[in-house]
């Protein structure tokens, strides 16, 4: 039998894929043929080394660069595609909001004319229930996707109230999931003309530890021409514990704002 065929039979034997009959034949050959025995020992050793090969860990910059590229790709998308349209849950919540806003307007008219005031009370109750539902989703610590849906609904709002802003800021600063933080940043970024929100974004830059969010925050604040962050950007460039990608973004920000 040729050498290659023997090797193939031995590999199947080591892999446990040989039939019983084949195993017996190989074991007999191993006893009487030194050449086959040597090849068997070498193959066993080699396959064991392969099995024990360590998994290499890529550097953190791979993830940071991917998240950055993803944000750039997201920025090129038109706004409507930011909505999670496929999600039935979001459909329901978003549709609920639209319905309730319309309901409020209707309710207002009803109130004005002092007709069917009980319907207005009902509608207001439903608005509050839906609002609570959205806040509960944003606070669902067990599911990042639910928090993402909650934040996405907030993104679609004309102007969130103080409680919603406060939850969005908390999400931006404390959520364990980078994508949820970025979605909260997107939502807050829509209302950056509001002084309170602007200040929250500036403060977040000082405490933010997630490099991907740091980069996105710098880009947003630079776009807003917020010169008060120059000191913070300078700090980033000197901080040895900061990722290079963040430092580069800080450098670019300083150049644009100066």
């Amino acid at each position: 039998m040729d050498k290659q065929k023997w090797e193939s039979r031995l590999i199947d034997y080591i892999d446990g894929k040989a039939t019983e009959e084949e195993r017996a034949a190989i074991e007999q050959e191993l006893l009487r043929n030194e050449g086959v025995r040597t090849r068997y020992n070498q193959l066993t050793e080699l396959l064991e080394v392969i099995k024990k090969t360590k998994v290499s860990e890529p550097s953190i910059s791979l993830k940071v660069n991917f998240e950055k590229a993803l944000q750039e790709e997201l920025a090129t998308q038109t706004k409507p595609t930011k909505t999670i349209r496929f999600s039935p849950m979001l459909y329901r919540v978003a549709a609920g909001f639209v319905l309730l806003m319309a309901g409020l307007a209707i309710g207002y008219k009803i109130n004005q004319s002092k007709i069917e005031s009980d319907k207005l009370v009902q509608l207001q109750k439903e608005v509050e229930e839906n609002r609570r539902m959205m806040l509960a989703m944003m606070d669902n610590q067990l599911s990042a996707s639910q928090r993402m849906v909650g934040v996405s609904v907030a993104y679609e709002m004309e102007r969130p109230d103080d409680e919603i802003v406060s939850v969005l800021v908390k999400t931006l600063n404390e959520d364990v999931n980078t994508n949820v933080r970025l979605a909260a940043l997107d939502a807050l970024g829509r209302f950056s003309s509001d002084n309170q929100i602007r200040n929250e974004l500036i403060n977040s830059l000082k405490t933010q530890k997630d490099p991907v969010v740091q980069i996105a925050l710098i880009q947003l604040l630079v776009e807003m021409k917020e010169k008060s962050i120059l000191i913070q950007l300078e700090k980033f460039t000197r901080d040895t514990g900061i990722l290079k990608a963040v430092k580069d973004e800080a450098h670019a920000g300083i150049l644009k704002l100066s």
Binding site: Q4, S8, L46, L62, F66, P88
Partner: protein
């Protein structure tokens, strides 16, 4: 209260990629988390160069975003992403060939290996294994990396390499045989 949406963790790779294709780009992060180490390790073994492998892995996931519309949901996502990794490696290989004569490529690959081995804190046997692997022809190395290092089934590999399962098995066995010779030659070198 409406029923909660299907948990992202339970979504298959194909379902996630379909949502990415439909415009929900954020889900690409989950696919990145699931696959980036596998693709990186595949490319580390193919190039023998950690830095190049990282650049190529980055390139693969950028292609995933840019060419998301070309994804066919009937195709396994794993096959699609490995196919892109193979293409990225082939492009890299072509560029290297243009920069240096063909016979220099193997030398370059071998030269980079001690650094790679050191960076990975590999034991002597693992260093020798990587050197032996680098001496294999590309198609043998690829088949071995996919089946023995990445633990893909012969059926899966046959699917995206457009080969029969029997052919994959024959070639993998030949590759192991050649690797054995390389590996023990280096022991005596």
């Amino acid at each position: 209260m409406p029923k909660p949406a299907k948990s992202i963790d339970l979504m298959s790779d194909e379902q996630l990629m379909e949502t990415v294709k439909n415009g929900n780009l954020q889900q690409a992060s989950i696919l990145f988390e699931r696959f980036h180490k596998r693709i990186f390790n595949f490319l580390v073994h193919m190039t023998g160069n950690r830095e190049a492998a990282e650049d190529l892995t980055q390139n693969v996931f950028l292609r995933m975003l840019r060419y998301r519309q070309s994804y066919n949901p009937e195709m396994k996502f794993q096959s699609w992403i490995y196919q892109m990794a193979r293409n990225a490696f082939a492009d890299h290989y072509q560029k290297q060939k243009q920069l240096k004569p063909a016979n220099m490529e193997v030398e370059k690959l071998n030269d980079s290996l001690p650094d790679l081995a050191e960076a990975l804190e590999q034991e002597e046997t693992e260093k020798r294994l990587i050197r032996a692997l680098a001496k294999l022809p590309d198609d043998y190395r690829e088949l071995l990396v996919l089946t023995r290092f990445q633990h893909l089934k012969y059926e899966e590999v046959a699917g995206f390499l457009n080969m029969t399962v029997a052919n994959v098995k024959v070639k993998v066995h030949r590759a192991i045989s050649q690797l054995r010779e390389n590996y023990f030659e280096l022991e005596n070198a």
